[in-house]
Amino acid sequence: MFMKKIFLILLVLQINLVAFSQIKPSEKLVYAASYNMSGLMTQLAQVTMQTETVKTTKKSFLHLSWEAATFSKWDSFFKIRDLYESYVDPASLRPSLYKRSIYEGGYTKTEKYIFSADGKTVSSTMRKKNRPEVKKSFSIGSSTLDIISLIYKIRTLDFTKIKPGQIISYVLVFDEKEYPVSIKFMRNETVSAGNLGKKECSVFSIAAKTDRLKGKDKNLIWFTSDSKKVPVLVRFSIPVGTGQLALSNASGI
């Protein structure tokens, strides 16, 4: 009986560790963001995805952040300094706090979502340039994720058990609205992965019921097929064009 309990505890611990092991708290992924201009890919910005552990007096959180900054040569023309952050439960990746702060060519917008303990309500604060702060509270589903935790959540999937064409559904909260998001496993492909060299990857297509994404199977993410599941390439199609994020450096994985 005692051994059975120990075995059960170990099993639970192992399951939690499997979910958590793919995302280490000191991971840093650096990408070069390019935009397709007249058929030529032009490097515009650097995107950094980072993780770190943040402790409060009661709890420990995994801080996930994305930072986008234009390369210095573009700063005088169209400066971008975007910061997306999410504080999630290290085991379940359920978000507790989501923040978005954008600076794009002089336009600014900040958003903050505080998720209730049961994950069913969000208290939001939004401020746009030259506009007053707007506070709101709205209901969400208990499994709704923010855009950052969604990407990390996908990384906890067991890719070996997903078949080509299989669709996995999520719900995303963005701009104070919930969007159903589906990811479809497309194929395996070997691509260049920055300092990691050539890597075999699992390619997923992301679709959401929003005008922000265009085309069928044109928004793709390549995750390494190994246990790290590092996102190495992102190709996107938006109403104003197409672009990509290509991994240039990965550390702490």
Binding site: E67, S96, L97, S101, I114, A117
Partner: protein, 103 residues
């Protein structure tokens, strides 16, 4: 025809200069290559006495091409160390911890 080629090559040469000065990277190849094509055709369509102008434009476009290639190869894309942005991140983190303490 020769006049059309010369006017086109001048227009694209001006665009090439602007694109080369601006940080447009590989996009600058577009007007530079078009200048090369039009000025080369204008050079071939001209008789010996008329070759001076297309030759000048051709030389300008080759120099432009070298500058564009040089900029792409030698100038590495860098993100400036933005102290204001770093400070904003630090302040934001302190505020976040206060919010998280209240959860």
């Amino acid at each position: 025809m020769r006049l059309f080629l010369i006017i086109s090559s001048i227009v694209f040469a001006v665009l090439s200069l602007i694109f080369t000065i601006l940080p447009l990277g590989t996009i600058a190849f577009l007007p530079v290559v078009l200048t090369l094509i039009f000025s080369l055709l204008a050079f071939l369509k001209s008789n010996d006495k008329q070759k001076i102008l297309p030759r000048i434009i051709l030389i300008i476009s080759v120099l432009n091409l070298l500058v564009v290639v040089g900029k792409i190869v030698l100038i590495k894309d860098k993100v400036v160390n933005d102290k204001q942005f770093e400070l904003k991140k630090e302040e934001s983190k302190k505020e976040d911890i206060k919010d998280l303490e209240g959860l």
